[in-house]
């Protein structure tokens, strides 16, 4: 195959991975921005999302749209509960709450391992067929993932702009004390923010389940990438998370096509550590006082 034929494919793959990273990173960033918590269990919610999709859609043949709704409801509740039971009591201590999310991650991953076993399960595509765009041919399932992810990101953006809760979250992320003064009930916002944050991870997992396979370990890579993306885009910055996600997705896709996956991975880590050193607040993040 010649280079010109590879380019659109690499671009499309980049968009697919980028959309997933963006979803992961937005959720991660939302939690950090509002609560100042690094959620090391973020990847496990991706894993849970892909398992829900697997059982609901592939096993019990529930329609995919309904599957997504189930994912949102179940993971949202679980996230709010986790905030309430595990994180809330530890919020005054940054390191302790971070370690607690680590504990949650260990519990969730190994529970999945115990119940579902380690072997990866393939899942059928939600839509099939090919899409012809000019000379290039794309698989419809990839296009579907991109469109669905864009819809979710759009819905999230609308929620943050228009709804009272969303606006309150943005106020808290900007300045917690000022938000308190404006009468925002910060304590009530936190479970929402955490719930929505992990829901975004779970939706990413559900959308990607047919693309990759489903196993207890699928959350690790997306979480690592979410870290990289938010560092790149700035911890707590939502537009930064979207742009960073797409950027990393593209770098990865083109890097893997032309350089080999491992080199691309190492390159990413090196670039991100470099950025952290030069601009700790990230490319688009605001400086912390």
């Amino acid at each position: 195959m010649d280079i010109l034929a590879l380019l659109p494919q690499a671009g499309l793959n980049g968009l697919v991975i980028g959309a997933m990273y963006a979803l992961m990173a937005i959720g991660f960033s939302l939690v950090f921005g509002t609560m100042r918590i690094v959620n090391f269990a973020h990847g496990e919610f991706y894993m849970i999302g892909s398992f829900i999709a697997f059982f609901s859609y592939a096993q019990w043949e529930v329609p995919f749209a309904l599957t997504i709704l189930i994912t949102v409801a179940a993971v949202g509740l679980a996230g709010a509960l986790m905030e309430w039971v595990v994180i809330r009591p530890l919020r005054t201590d940054e390191l302790s709450s971070m370690i607690a999310t680590l504990g949650v991650s260990v519990v969730l991953q190994n529970s999945a391992l115990m119940f579902f076993g380690a072997s990866p399960r393939p899942m059928p595509d939600v839509v099939s067929g090919l899409v012809h765009l000019g000379p290039a041919v794309f698989s419809a399932s990839r296009i579907f993932v991109i469109v669905a992810a864009a819809l979710v990101i759009g819905a999230f953006w609308l929620f943050m702009q228009k709804s009272r809760t969303g606006r309150a979250m943005r106020a808290v992320a900007q300045d917690q004390e000022a938000a308190l003064l404006q009468g925002v009930d910060v304590e009530r916002i936190f479970p929402f923010a955490f719930g929505i944050g992990v829901v975004l991870a779970a939706v990413a997992g559900a959308l990607m389940a047919p693309v990759f396979s489903v196993s207890p370990f699928v959350g690790a890579t997306p979480m690592l990438k979410a870290f990289i993306v938010v560092i790149l885009g700035g911890l707590g910055s939502i537009p930064g998370a979207v742009l960073g996600g797409l950027l990393i997705g593209m770098i990865e896709s083109f890097g893997a096509t032309f350089l080999g996956g491992v080199v691309a991975d190492m390159l990413q880590l090196a670039v991100v550590i470099g950025i952290l050193l030069v601009r700790p607040a990230g490319l688009m993040g605001r400086k912390e006082a």
Binding site: P89, D93, I99, L224, M266, L269
Partner: protein
């Protein structure tokens, strides 16, 4: 008070502990228990070294990577350049400390979350590097038949012999940490931990001390990793992963972060746990995580704070 815990008392404790230790391999029912004791002492070295980093208010999420760095360097020195293992592990420890100092010097401006993220990413990079630099590291297969440590013709390969060696090293690390805590450095470290801005205003070069603590802690982790490599005789990318870093943090938290010997207790409690929970395959890690969360929630000071918590509750009734 200073005189009481001074040099003589410490020497006395060392002698007493050594006498007890001398009989341990003979008293344990079989070699498997000696193996567990060895692993526990190695964990103790890792947890104590992590505590040194924690004592300046930083938490390393890549501690296992530094242990792995030491392990690979020492193993490669011994295998490729035929450096005697006893010397190789010292070189490896110093080189690991040097690496940490370099990394620390660049990341010293980062605090809290950012420091955690960089150490986490460093750990990931280490695993990737080891996996992919196959010419040197033999990739995912790892290095096999790493030579045992031999000092003056005595091999410390057999489990009971290694016990004496690792006990000696553990004791040395423990005494060093104890001394460090009481030293001028320890005072600077604790000042930084409690109030970094005020520490700087006291004339304490906080960045320098944080790098020093990071280098010392990581260097000791490198030493522990190197010892482990020459003991297990095998090292692979799976030997030192993020999960090991999490295990070290768990030891620190469960034992108690405020006191250095909390790390020791944590290592003693957590290391044998998988063996005790062998019958509950799969459940052991869940219990690990659950213990971590429960201790954070119910006993934030860790096991070392248990006596004072119990006393307070007893007094309240």
């Amino acid at each position: 008070m200073i005189a009481k815990t001074g040099l003589t008392v410490r020497l006395g404790l060392v002698v007493a502990a050594s006498i007890v230790a001398a009989f341990v391999p003979d008293l344990l029912p079989n070699l498997f228990y000696v193996h567990i004791a060895n692993l526990t002492l190695l964990s103790g070295i890792f947890a104590l070294s992590l505590w040194i980093i924690y004592s300046v208010g930083q938490l390393s999420f890549g501690h296992a990577a530094f242990a792995g760095l030491g392990a690979y360097m020492s193993a490669l020195l011994a295998m490729r350049l035929e450096v005697p293992p006893a010397i190789a592990l010292i070189i490896a420890a110093l080189a690991t400390a040097g690496m940490a100092a370099l990394l620390g010097a660049v990341i010293l401006r980062l605090r809290g979350v950012y420091f955690v993220l960089v150490t986490f990413l460093f750990g990931q990079m280490f695993t990737l590097l080891v996996l992919n630099w196959a010419d040197l590291t033999n990739g995912a297969n790892g290095l096999i038949s790493i030579p045992a440590i031999v000092i003056a013709g005595v091999s410390f390969g057999p489990r009971p012999m290694f016990f004496y060696l690792v006990f000696g090293v553990f004791l040395a690390v423990l005494l060093f940490t104890w001394g460090l805590k009481r030293s001028t450095f320890g005072r600077a470290f604790d000042s930084i931990h409690q109030n970094i801005d005020l520490a700087e205003s006291c004339g304490i070069d906080t960045a320098r001390y944080q790098v020093i603590a990071f280098a010392i802690g990581s260097g000791i982790a490198g030493l522990g990793g190197a010892m482990m490599a020459h003991y297990i005789r095998f090292v692979s990318p799976d030997t030192f992963t993020f999960h090991n870093s999490v295990a070290f943090i768990t030891m620190l938290v469960v034992g108690g972060r405020s006191l250095f010997w909390g790390a020791m207790i944590g290592a003693a409690v957590i290391t044998p746990l998988p063996e005790l929970l062998r019958d509950f395959e799969g459940l052991q890690h869940i219990i690990y995580g659950a213990i971590l969360i429960l201790v954070l929630r119910l006993l934030p000071g860790g096991l070392v704070s248990l006596p004072s918590v119990l006393r307070r509750q007893g007094g309240g009734q």
